[in-house]
């Protein structure tokens, strides 16, 4: 059982997860550097799957690297690039190396990336992928062919509380829960009222306590990334006053940090929320500062790098 699954099912503790950086050149070296920054702070780190429709080192390779570096991977799988056969192969391949946490996403469209001429796949959609993951967890491929023993899996999905249609987002949560999702990482949302409404809706639908809600925050250095997210990331709207607040500050980097802290504290107070997901675009001391300000204590084990799953037969 993964740490995340254990904490979410057997304890009342909050879980903290983070987005692992995409890997390109010098992948393993960079992976080690990122892992060392995150070590001891997080219950799981997301191995992303071609973020924003840009090609990078694969989700499977990144998840295995994270595992070998002693952290717990959460392997994202998007529906944009691969059909159901390839998705099943990736899940089985990753589980061979001890990857247990999986999260299903629809994924940004190819037109959001730097190769918009590529063919989009979307053989399955997000909720269908959740159910496929659950099928594998039960010990079967989609065809019904048995998998013995069935892989150990903890399955999650994502949702965007900040994009219309707002009421319908809660119904989507119910659907993903019914398909087998046990946790839900949320898209970054700069509208506190929308997050409040979403969490209240999940509670009213009787789903709080059944599916763990994990909202996201992002560490940025100033107004530029806020503008970028607002203008270029599908489904993210950053209100003008939030951008102005950072832009007009005498110390924009400090103002941006305080804004993130405020959103993190607000998110953690919402009903049904069982943790926080952090994306770090700053690469500075504010990652540690945020965790400390949120009352977390770093847990460093005596073993610097665990490699018990490294290519074991």
């Amino acid at each position: 059982m993964s740490t995340m699954e254990h904490k979410l099912t057997n304890t009342n503790e909050m879980v903290f997860t983070a987005e692992f950086h995409s890997l390109d050149g010098n992948g393993l070296e960079k992976a080690k550097k990122y892992a060392d920054r995150m070590r001891g702070w997080f219950d799981g780190v997301n191995a992303t799957d071609n973020t924003a429709a840009h090609a990078h080192a694969s989700n499977v390779a990144t998840a295995i690297a994270i595992k070998q570096l002693g952290l717990e991977p959460i392997m994202q799988i998007v529906c944009r690039d691969k059909n159901r056969l390839a998705q099943q192969a990736d899940i089985m391949g990753a589980s061979m190396f001890g990857v247990e946490n999986f999260v299903a996403l629809t994924g940004d469209d190819v037109t959001a990336g730097d190769e918009p001429e590529a063919r989009r796949v979307f053989d399955l959609d997000g909720p269908q992928l959740v159910r496929l993951m659950n099928t594998i967890k039960r010990g079967e491929y989609m065809s019904g062919r048995k998998i013995d023993p069935a892989p150990q899996m903890f399955i999650g999905a994502v949702e965007n509380p900040g994009a219309p249609p707002f009421e319908y987002r809660v119904e989507r949560v119910a659907k993903k829960y019914a398909a087998g999702a046990k946790f839900l990482q949320l898209q970054i949302c700069y509208h506190q009222d929308r997050l409040e409404r979403f969490c209240a809706g999940v509670k009213d639908a009787g789903l709080a306590g059944k599916i763990a809600i994990i909202p996201s925050v992002v560490l940025v250095k100033g107004p530029r990334p806020l503008n970028f997210m607002h203008n270029s990331v599908p489904g993210i709207d950053v209100p003008a006053e939030q951008i102005a607040r950072v832009e007009s500050a005498s110390d924009p980097a400090e103002a941006a940090y305080l804004q993130t802290l405020e959103f993190a504290q607000h998110a953690l107070l919402q009903p049904g929320v069982r943790g926080l997901h952090i994306t770090d675009f700053r690469n500075d001391e504010t990652l540690e500062r945020l965790m400390t300000d949120l009352g977390r204590v770093r847990q460093i084990s005596t073993t610097e790098v665990k490699d018990d799953h490294a290519y074991s037969a």
Partner: protein
Amino acid sequence: MTTFIATIEHVVKGPVWGCQDCGQCVLHSTGMTCPMNCPKTLRNGPCGGVRENGHCEVKPEMKCVWLKAYDRTQDWPLPSTWKAEYNHLRPPVDNRLKGTSSWKNFFTKRDRWTPPGWKNSTDESIASGVEI
């Protein structure tokens, strides 16, 4: 005869619903809005990329297919049994049915076939798991 039915269906449903000939029509359960017109061909609701104005991430000039489906399901005088199916988890598309008549597939029940693994994962067996 089969081709003839498929042609008739295409002529009727193409101009009215933007039918993409998937051969497994779910129009009645999606507020008479064809989900195959979503650029990502999503059958189970909108993605997270819907714009502030409710338009599509991929085609900014087009209203999100699923917003349309949601509004129509609420507002149009459709049979309640159809409306009740709106939130059903629709199975993955059977790509072998592309270009065939969904009318025929409905009457022969061919469109109700799902892969055995999918069928065995009932919502009840999943949702009764450990509470978080």
